[in-house]
Symmetry: C2
Subunit: 268 residues, 2 copies
């Protein structure tokens, strides 16, 4: 999977990209690995270029976030249409979704008229061949487009909307693709041992116990080391995963203690 | 500027990419615009590809974060060398920096011997032609490499180290490039008006007052709208910037109130 996040607010450092982290964590936990995250601004050409670059790498899924709203700078659909060389047109099914939202708002007295103004129709405008996905939280529908072996999913940028559509419409696709794979992980902490001393010990354990990935994250300073060690594995069998992680954790702990470091399990 | 963040931990959603946000905010505030942020894993080929893609877009600066440490999965220097087709070699100046760190640790009794083990020498191994930048917080030096019109800067991933090197060694370069440009911004909130109703009002103000960019961020739901409006401009004159933002804010507030919405200034 590749993730493409659209929004000037991300490029000016106004907001932290929690959407990318949320999507990456959710996909990883379902056994789908994320290969790249790209952040670009609200610019049709930039969006189209990023989509085409991702398509050329042939990932199974491309998920975009942001740029689906009613304002002039919501340009994701335009960017996708440009990338795929497809026409942008009002999608009948999407227009029905949008219309129903405004009719409900009007009934609730939140707006005077449910009229489909151009900015509201814009939210139902999609590249030809797109399948709109209902937005249970907000107004703009998401979209799903299949291009060869890649499924492209355009989600809104507002986190509760993005998350709700992902849970409802995307997770079933990912589960099917993952065929029972799971991502399993464990964290331990090493103290009183420098990362440069730990490095060969990690190498040893990774060579000895296959399919366990170990990554060190220094949390203190090299002079006063406190190092998080993150062990992970992907498997279709929970017992196999547990056994691998247990074996690697125990072997690594032994080596660290032999090197006069101390090991602490992470609080669960 | 382009930012390239290296680290599997970002792609599995283990940590939020605060480094990218910090760098983007800091560069933007100095009048340097960030065009793209790319996140890739600890993989030499992926790093090299991402660097080459960024170089082809000819940004003035490329800043990478992560992958400079002593472990097997710290591969940024290798990836840069591959991208530039340069040899990787121990950099004498960098080795001196690393050596001094370990001699200090040894003097302080934090390690038994200051010996330059392979993982420690690895932190001084850089593509040919790189200029090491001192790391005032951690051990691994950063690196600066000039490729045509692009300056490539490789920073560590540990936030306090990344930030300290950026402040010490990179900010002077950015200031020189920005030639006095500043990014100025203001936020107001609109209530009781839907984003789809706001959209044409924003268009109007942006057409009327040039060089002010306005972006709406829905914080409530379309049915119960609470919308953040972020106004920004880049200028070399603080008075010009203030005047532009004041004019745009006042014009936009008038239009919102005419449309029966209410406006609130953001708390400073």
């Amino acid at each position: 999977m590749e993730i493409i996040c659209v929004g000037n607010e991300l490029l000016i450092g106004k907001i932290i990209n929690t959407n990318a982290t949320w999507l990456a964590r959710r996909a990883t936990s379902l056994g789908i690995s994320v290969k790249r995250i790209t952040v670009i601004g609200d610019n049709t050409k930039e969006i189209s270029t990023a989509i085409n670059e991702a398509l050329n790498r042939s990932p199974r899924f491309i998920v975009t976030t942001g740029g689906l709203g009613p304002t002039f700078d919501d340009k994701t659909m335009e960017g996708i249409a440009k990338a795929l060389d497809r026409k942008l047109a009002v999608n009948g099914q999407a227009l029905k979704m949008v219309k129903q939202k405004y009719e409900t708002f009007a009934r609730q007295g939140k707006i005077a008229k449910a009229e489909l103004t151009p900015p509201r129709v814009k939210m139902a405008t999609m590249p030809e061949g797109a399948k709109p996905l209902p937005n249970p939280v907000g107004t703009a529908p998401a979209a799903k487009i299949t291009i060869g072996k890649t499924v492209l999913i355009a989600l809104p940028g507002v986190p509760p909307e993005m998350e709700a559509i992902f849970e409802d419409s995307i997770i079933p696709l990912l589960r099917k693709e993952a065929k029972g794979r799971m991502f399993m992980e464990q964290t331990i902490y090493a103290d009183s041992i420098m990362e440069s001393t730990l490095a060969p010990l990690i190498d040893n354990v990774m060579h000895e116990i296959s399919r366990v990935y170990i990554k060190s994250h220094p949390k203190g300073q090299e002079g006063e080391p406190h190092i998080e060690l993150h062990l992970s594995t992907t498997t279709t069998n929970i017992q196999t995963g547990k056994r691998r992680l247990r074996k690697a954790t125990s072997r690594l702990s032994d080596l660290i203690e032999k090197a006069k470091g101390s090991v602490m399990a992470a609080e669960q």
